[in-house]
């Protein structure tokens, strides 16, 4: 009544709505596609690659593509793991240190047991990561302290342990079996083997998050933790498992790191956590939880890596590269925020009909 000057969608009443709903339904598949958070990032990636290739024709030669994929691989796996945690409205900042511990552990293993089967090394690395992730998860769920603070603490603790363990020691690729390093150099139909591993991981995690009940619970928890408790979802257990799974994937990334890079030591993975969180956020995983996909996080990781290579390829000063990455993060957060303010406003006015 007092609202006559405002648009009032709900005031249209029930009869008018049944017709609208039918149209909604036809439009929904298309609009879901357009609204998906991954679309802007993926388009940005395509535009970036095309423009760079036009300016510098060397950018898309086979070796260039292979380098691009190799550089992105480890970040992709870690972003996939991180997105599990962020979707539950938590965050794991200790992943850089976890990766360092596992990578150095991998180096030590090959050093101590030169003939150890590679599969066993992978298993040990992933279990090691799971244990570290489990420590984070237990602290977050039992202490009820924000994950940001807990994992900031474990970031330093894990790094401190690695410093004490490694000291000045570094292990080099030469200390490891050739077949292990081959994982990062051999290709199958043009893709490096470790990149294929990353793709497999992303697809598996994405299927879990999309079509397994406990995966869907993670979205519910991040969407509204209080409602999830009222609903009877085992919130603590699910969050703990998300941290453990992230640990496993970070462990896997740690082993691959040792395969890909020449040296592993006390500073391995230092600061990597920020790239990982940035990749997930740029890829449309909402930092407030509840939405985003693993595919998005993976595309975000690919975009961040590509942007660095592309800026180098078109000879942009290295100092500007980080600023541009920062702009990208801000842009994706602002896009998110504007969308949610609009939705909230719409909701308030549409509820107004009786007042």
């Amino acid at each position: 009544m007092t609202l006559s000057t405002k648009p009032n969608p709900a005031g249209a009443g029930a009869p008018a709505r049944s017709g609208a709903a039918a149209t909604d339904r036809n439009a929904s598949a298309f609009s879901t596609f357009v609204r998906a958070r991954e679309i802007p990032v993926a388009s940005a990636l395509v535009v970036l690659v095309v423009i760079t290739a036009v300016i510098n024709s060397q950018f898309l030669n086979p070796q260039g593509v292979k380098d691009l994929l190799l550089n992105a691989t480890i970040l992709i796996i870690m972003a996939a793991g991180q997105s599990l945690v962020i979707i539950t409205r938590n965050v794991d900042l200790s992943v850089g240190s976890v990766l360092g511990l596992v990578a150095f552990g991998t180096g030590s293993l090959f050093n101590a047991f030169p003939n150890i089967p590679i599969v066993v090394v992978f298993l040990i690395g992933m279990v090691f990561g799971a244990v570290l992730g489990g420590i984070n998860g237990l602290l977050v769920t039992a202490a009820k302290v924000p994950a940001l603070v807990i994992t900031l603490g474990t970031l330093y603790i894990f790094r401190g342990v690695l410093n004490a363990w490694a000291g000045g020691t570094q292990y080099f690729a030469g200390d490891r079996p050739v077949s292990f390093s081959d994982l990062s150099t051999e290709t199958v139909i043009g893709f490096p083997i470790i990149t294929l591993i990353a793709v497999f991981v992303v697809v598996a995690v994405a299927i879990f998050m999309h079509a397994v009940r406990s995966g869907r619970d993670l979205y519910a928890i991040g969407s509204d933790p209080d409602a999830a408790l009222l609903f009877g979802i085992p919130v603590s257990r699910r969050v703990l498992y998300a941290f453990v799974a992230n640990g496993v994937l970070t462990g896997l990334a740690g082993v691959l790191y040792a395969s890909r890079f020449n040296s592993v030591g006390a500073t391995t993975g230092d600061g990597l956590e920020l790239n990982v969180v940035a990749a997930a956020v740029v890829g449309g995983v909402a930092i407030a939880g509840g939405s985003g996909t693993v595919y998005g996080a993976a595309i975000g990781a690919l975009l961040l890596t590509t942007i660095t290579s592309a800026l180098t390829a078109v000879r942009v000063d290295k100092f500007w590269q980080q600023a541009i990455v920062g702009l990208l993060i801000l842009a994706s957060i602002i896009v998110d925020r504007v969308a949610s303010i609009r939705r909230a406003r719409k909701l308030r006015v549409s509820e107004a009909r009786d007042v």
Binding site: T2, R213, G290, S350
Partner: protein
């Protein structure tokens, strides 16, 4: 239906359940008995313990004592999942949907239909959701996200959830509070359908017309206790209201008659889309005006708009003849308004700071010299007000969190008195304060009015309103539905206006 039921056949019964949170007794005797095939109303004032009782039924809270049976079996739920598993479904006052998930997923979360591969089959989920909505006769798109749905549609989704769970008991906590007439009718149609299929429904509402229209029996609660249960067709609204408020007012409220002066606050035509509309009233110097009504009627929102915390779309606020700029607490404070908020722990005090620092928060500019605050002057100023208000603390340097609720409230009031306000807004001044200290806070408020301060008091406690106020404004769903001078204010009239059965209030 009712005569075929022997007492032992209740689908859910709770007898003598008690629940305390620390020293606060939320529920002293929670008793309810729901039979299959009935709609049972639970009524009571704000704070009567209804919500606590609902949360016990839902498995959110575990009762400290009492006998709780579902279908004759003793139960003790450790989580909402267990309650749901035996067929108790609860629709809360605030719908608890997951805003980022689709409508279909909100209905089926945790038990999504699986395809042959063992993965969730979205097509099947969508089909079942459509089927549910077809049964309910509502065209909601199962694929849209829940965010942005109207409250009515959210309620429907909660009901669809309950139906798909095959609930034996459906608890609805004020489901109609935000619905329009057509939507309420649709909801009632669904409720009656479920009842006829043998479900037991517990319906909590403040709207008596609905309670009498829909339900078979009514249970009344008051002060955390079970009072009575009636067959709906054997009682009248008046009898129920009397049981809800029936309390001796006694000499608990030392209201002092104060000389009433000029108009201090004048609010005219204040409106905020979706929150309140057409709010017009005034408060005079030395007068205590109570803003009464049910939780969610928009009282706090009006106060926040007057004080400038929230913006408003229309209308004016005038203080002593000067129109206030909207949406600016600084302007409100400068003009002489003080606000004692409902949630004093979060909004009224800085819990970790000392008593002295809290009491002088509003005086920082006056106490500072060259931008630095002198601790000595701060303590002296705090001392002065603490003495006037009789704040009981070991030292001015103790953290304010160490004080009792009543003394904390005095510190909040002291903070504002130091600014020499013309108008003091007090929102639920005695919430969470024990009975003894309550009357001290009341005496204080009465004193302040005696000094010529205009007081706007928001209160959900009827005895407090009746005992303290010179004038009572009653709000319902964002509008003022009654204005009663002290001589005409009775619990019954306020309650009726608060539930918007206006014609009867006028009689």
């Amino acid at each position: 239906m009712a005569e075929q039921q022997a007492p032992g056949e209740s689908v859910l019964s709770l007898v003598g359940a008690a629940k305390s949170f620390g020293p606060v007794v939320a529920l002293a005797d929670g008793t309810i008995d729901i039979r299959p095939g009935e709609i049972h109303a639970l009524v009571g004032e704000n704070g009567a313990g209804k919500s606590t009782l609902v949360k016990i039924l839902a498995g959110v809270h575990q009762p400290d004592s009492g006998d709780f049976r579902v279908a004759g079996e003793l139960v003790s739920f450790k989580s909402p999942a267990e309650s749901k598993a035996v067929g108790v479904s609860v629709i809360y006052q605030e719908p608890t949907l997951f805003p980022d998930l689709t409508v279909a997923e909100n209905i089926f979360i945790g038990r999504q239909p699986k395809g042959r591969s063992g993965l969730i089959s979205r097509r099947e989920m969508r089909r079942q959701a459509r089927e549910l909505f077809a049964r309910l006769g509502v065209p909601i798109d199962p694929d849209r996200v829940a965010e942005g749905l109207s409250i009515a549609d959210q309620q429907i989704i909660e009901i669809a959830k309950a139906i798909s769970l095959d609930a034996k008991v459906l608890v609805m906590d004020e489901p109609t509070a935000a619905l329009s007439g057509v939507e309420v009718e649709r909801l009632f149609g669904v409720a009656r359908g479920l009842r006829d299929k043998g479900a037991g429904i517990l319906f909590i509402s403040h709207r008596f017309d609905e309670v009498f229209d829909l339900t078979d029996r009514i249970t009344v609660m008051r002060d955390g206790r079970y009072i009575s249960t009636h067959d709906t067709h054997t009682v009248t609204i008046d009898e129920i209201v009397r049981e809800m408020v029936g309390r001796e007012l006694g000499a608990l409220f030392p209201k002092v008659e104060a000389p009433i002066g000029d108009t201090v606050l004048k609010v005219s035509g204040l409106a905020r889309a979706g929150v309140f509309s057409n709010i017009t009233f005034d408060v005079k110097a030395g007068e205590i005006v109570a803003l009464s009504g049910l939780v969610g009627a928009g009282r706090t929102e009006v106060a926040r708009a007057i004080f400038g915390i929230d913006p408003y779309d229309r209308g004016t606020v005038t203080l002593s003849g000067r129109t206030l700029a909207g949406h600016s607490p600084q302007a409100a404070i400068a003009a002489g308004i003080g606000m004692v908020p409902e949630d004093r722990r979060k909004q009224g005090l800085v819990m970790d700071l000392s008593v002295a620092k809290n009491a002088t928060l509003t005086l920082r500019k006056k106490l500072a010299r060259f931008g630095l605050i002198s601790g000595k002057r701060e303590r002296a100023a705090a001392e002065e007000w603490s003495k006037v208000l009789q704040v009981k603390t070991g030292s001015q340097d103790y953290a304010v969190s160490t004080l009792s609720g009543g003394n904390q409230q005095k510190v909040v009031i002291a903070k504002w008195l130091a600014t020499e306000p013309k108008l003091l807004i007090v929102d639920e001044p005695t919430r969470g304060i024990d009975v003894g200290t309550k009357s001290e806070v009341h005496r204080l408020i009465s004193d302040l009015a005696g000094r010529g301060i205009a007081i706007l008091m928001i209160s959900s406690e009827l005895p407090e309103v009746l005992g303290m106020a010179d004038r009572v404004l009653v709000m319902h769903e964002g509008r003022i539905t009654a204005e009663l001078p002290r001589s005409e204010a009775t619990a019954e009239r306020i309650m009726l206006a608060a539930t918007a059965t206006l014609e009867e209030a006028a009689r």
